[in-house]
């Protein structure tokens, strides 16, 4: 009876893209409807942002496309839901999105009390500060007594309080609802400093009138491992998303790129053979086809390519690989092997 009423209510409400019936699992649902619904940041350059034509780009966006490639062999079979900080978790919990790929910090409380499951870390970030160069400050430790602008509803606010308290420095926080307002207030001079994840600072700095008048302080005051998250309790879907991330990293390690994967496909390297699905049944094991990883790389490129194209040194953001480099090259990006 309840189902019946729900169906009538849902039908009558004429939910546009909305009404979706849950069945056995997310992977089956996604396959049935033919696309991945992905929650992304609406306005963070380099992570999730849409241009004037509605074309999405960014690391998080590319990850969504990678998942679509793994499942369908087609990176375009994905729809994006722009989410703000406040509503992102509800959107995932309620099934509005299948996957949350929105520069979200992996914390224990989010695992324990928000019903999320992080598949890994797609970007190692940390909270930093941006200040005016004219302030003559070169370290966050000199920010005693500063007025700090930030966005409400994030871990940022809490880290900020912890940092200033632990260093016994007085401060004042001005917390806005939306990024646009934070930036406007900072630009107007309401605050001495602007704090958010360092990657975000680089992105926001671009939007200032004179980006060169502002600098990002070297201190990183928190660990912000950003990663994609899925709902708890659906191991199959979790595995698919998790291994998509690992595939991106493994591909870089194996030297497979979007351009060369077709020619390397035939190489005699057993690791590559397993990767592209010539050897073994790894794809079918997680409910996909055996060439799933090949499709991922063919669709979006490897982790390094995604990084370089969206935030790397050659982009406007100009962020160095740093921690996000492969473990073999001085970073800490590391993926379990496909075998």
């Amino acid at each position: 009876m309840k189902k019946l009423i729900a169906s009538i209510v849902a039908g009558a409400a004429l939910a546009t893209a909305g009404v979706s019936a849950a069945s056995a699992g997310t992977l089956e649902d996604v396959k049935a409807k033919g696309f991945v619904q992905c929650g992304v940041n609406p306005s963070l350059i380099g992570f999730g942002v849409a241009d004037e034509k509605g074309e999405w780009s960014g690391i998080d966006v590319s990850f969504c496309r990678a998942v679509a490639s793994a499942i369908f062999g087609d990176p375009t079979k994905v729809k994006f839901s722009p989410l703000n900080a406040k509503e992102r978790f509800t959107a995932l919990q309620s099934g509005e999105v299948d996957l949350l790929s929105r520069n979200t910090t992996w914390t224990m409380s989010r695992d324990s009390s928000l019903g999320l499951m992080f598949v890994g870390v797609s970007y190692y970030d940390g909270q930093g500060f941006m200040v005016r160069k004219s302030l003559g400050v070169s370290s966050a430790l000199e920010l005693s007594g500063a007025k700090v602008c930030t966005q409400t509803g994030t871990t940022t606010e809490l880290n900020l309080a912890d940092y200033f308290r632990s260093h016994n420095m007085p401060y004042e926080v001005v917390a806005f609802e939306k990024n646009e307002e934070v930036l406007q207030a900072y630009e107007a001079g309401r605050c001495d400093a602007y704090t958010t994840d360092a990657s975000g600072l680089y992105a926001e700095r671009l939007k200032l009138t004179n980006p060169d008048d502002h600098m990002i302080l070297p201190e990183i005051i928190s660990k912000e491992p950003l990663g994609p998250a899925v709902r708890q309790g659906d191991d199959k879907w979790f595995t698919v998303v998790k291994w998509t991330l690992f595939a991106l990293i493994n591909a870089e390690e194996l030297g497979l790129t979007k351009a060369n994967i077709d020619e390397k496909k035939t190489a005699d390297n057993p690791e590559i053979k397993r990767f592209v699905g010539v050897e073994g049944d790894f794809g079918t094991g997680i409910g996909l086809t055996n060439d799933w990883a090949y499709n991922v790389i063919k669709g979006v490129g490897n982790y390094g390519e995604i990084f370089d194209a969206n935030v790397g040194p050659s982009t406007k953001l100009g962020i160095a690989r740093g921690l996000n480099n492969l473990w073999s090259k001085g970073g800490i990006q590391y993926a379990p092997p496909i075998r």
């Binding site: 309840k2 009423i5 900080a85 406040k86 978790f89 509800t90 919990q93 309620s94 324990s112 009390s113 928000l114 019903g115 004219s134 302030l135 003559g136 400050v137 000199e142 920010l143 005693s144 007594g145 500063a146 007025k147 602008c149 409400t152 509803g153 994030t154 606010e157 809490l158 900020l160 309080a161 912890d162 308290r165 007085p170 401060y171 004042e172 926080v173 001005v174 917390a175 806005f176 609802e177 939306k178 307002e181 406007q184 207030a185 107007a188 001079g189 309401r190 001495d192 708890q232 309790g233």
Partner: protein
């Protein structure tokens, strides 16, 4: 046989009568309605409980005792990052009351002035008032709020500079910096003296009115009242050896740049978010109040002011003694609505970082995930405030209402 027939027919008739009885039908309908409502509520509660359980969120208000961990820029009571969520909400609640209370006072004064100006015989003044009303009423408040907030921010000097008024008021982008009263022992007595002074002044005013009604002569009750309100606390203040001192804000123009300007912890700072919000709320609501006032004054018959003029009252006197008291009866009910609107609109604070109840509550909601509890708190607060305001305004309304003989 015949008797049975009649009995059967009357029974059928009675059944039909019961079915056709409007009160019975009403009852059936109401029972069905309640059943549907209960089922609906149960369904929602059931879904919510299941969803919360799935998300591992414990229902209930226990989270209010947990440590908040975030800072708030304006607090009227003691609050640090180590205080509880409950305390944070209290801070937000007081901030809402502060901005709403002040907003109501300013909007009322401004609204009355503009409402009267709109009826002014002076063409220019009337036009300015009309333009003011038509412009402000037809632009969304949120837009005005952004405009004022960022306009204020852009207009005032930066953090390391200041404008000074009257020697003690300093303005810069950090806000309005004024001396902060520091209360020592005995300050309570001064406060008590102030309260006694106000009460005494009210009593004197009453006595004065009675005296005027009885004898036709008005004693200078107003002056006595003012003397009482100012004098009593002053006497107490000096008698107790000045228990209240002032902490003057310090302006540094030396040292590292960050350390220049006003520092937190010296003096009292009224933040620009508060000004932006207060300005937007009062200006917007004043436009509505002005229209209310104009309608109220227009509702007073023309004969009233003509009669007052022929008695020799001047324009101002006519307005004050004849027109406004009668107009008040028309004005008060819609005025109550405007006050409630202003209070509700103060929730837009969330857009300009003023930490009101909705803004702080939003942060708490986000840190804890206790959506149901937070929304409940919001609803209870605003509903309570609505009921309280209508209650107070009803009492006042009854006082000024026409006494029918």
């Amino acid at each position: 046989m015949a008797a049975g027939d009649i009995g059967a027919r009357s029974f059928g008739g009675r059944a039909a009568a019961i079915i056709n009885n409007p009160s019975v039908r009403g009852l059936v309908f109401q029972i069905a309605f309640v059943a549907a409502l209960v089922w609906f509520a149960w369904d929602i509660a059931d879904n919510t409980a299941r969803n919360l359980q799935k998300a591992n969120i414990a229902a209930g208000f226990g989270f209010l005792d947990r440590t908040a961990g975030f800072g708030i820029v304006q607090k009227l009571v003691y609050y640090t990052e180590a205080s509880s969520y409950g305390r944070a909400l209290l801070v937000g609640l007081l901030n809402t009351l502060l901005v709403a209370g002040l907003g109501i006072v300013i909007a009322t004064i401004l609204g009355f002035i503009i409402g009267v100006a709109r009826l002014s015989p002076n063409w220019l003044i009337a036009r300015i008032a009309t333009a003011y009303i038509e412009i402000l009423r037809n632009i969304p408040l949120l837009l005005q709020l952004f405009f004022w907030y960022f306009a204020v921010l852009r207009a005032v000097p930066g953090m390391r500079e200041k404008w000074t008024f009257l020697g003690i008021f300093h303005i810069n982008i950090g806000g309005l910096h004024v001396p902060r009263p520091v209360f020592a022992d005995g300050a309570g007595t001064v406060g008590l003296a102030l309260i006694i002074g106000v009460v005494a002044a009210v009593l004197v005013a009453r006595w004065g009115r009675k005296r005027q009604e009885a004898t036709g002569q008005a004693p200078p009750a107003g002056w006595i009242g003012v003397a009482l309100i100012i004098g009593l606390p002053l006497i107490a203040y000096f008698a107790l050896g000045r228990p209240i001192s002032f902490d003057v804000p310090v302006f540094n123009d030396q040292g590292p740049i960050l350390r220049r300007g006003f520092q937190a912890g010296s003096g009292m700072t009224v933040i620009p978010e508060f000004f932006g919000l207060l300005l937007a709320l009062s200006l917007y609501t004043a436009a509505y109040i002005a229209e209310t006032v104009r309608a109220g004054i227009s509702a007073v018959g023309h004969g009233q002011s003509e009669a007052a003029h022929s008695l020799g009252l001047r324009n101002g006197q006519t307005l004050r003694y004849v027109v406004i008291p009668q107009a008040m009866r028309v004005i008060i009910p819609p005025l109550t609505n405007q006050y409630l609107n202003l209070t509700k609109n103060s929730s837009l604070a969330v857009a300009v970082a003023y930490p009101d109840l909705v803004s702080v509550g939003g942060t708490v909601l986000n840190q804890t995930g206790q959506a149901v509890e937070m929304v409940t708190i919001w609803m209870i607060f605003y509903l309570g405030l609505s009921l309280l305001t209508s209650f107070v305004m009803n009492i006042w309304n009854r006082r000024v209402a026409l006494v029918e003989r």
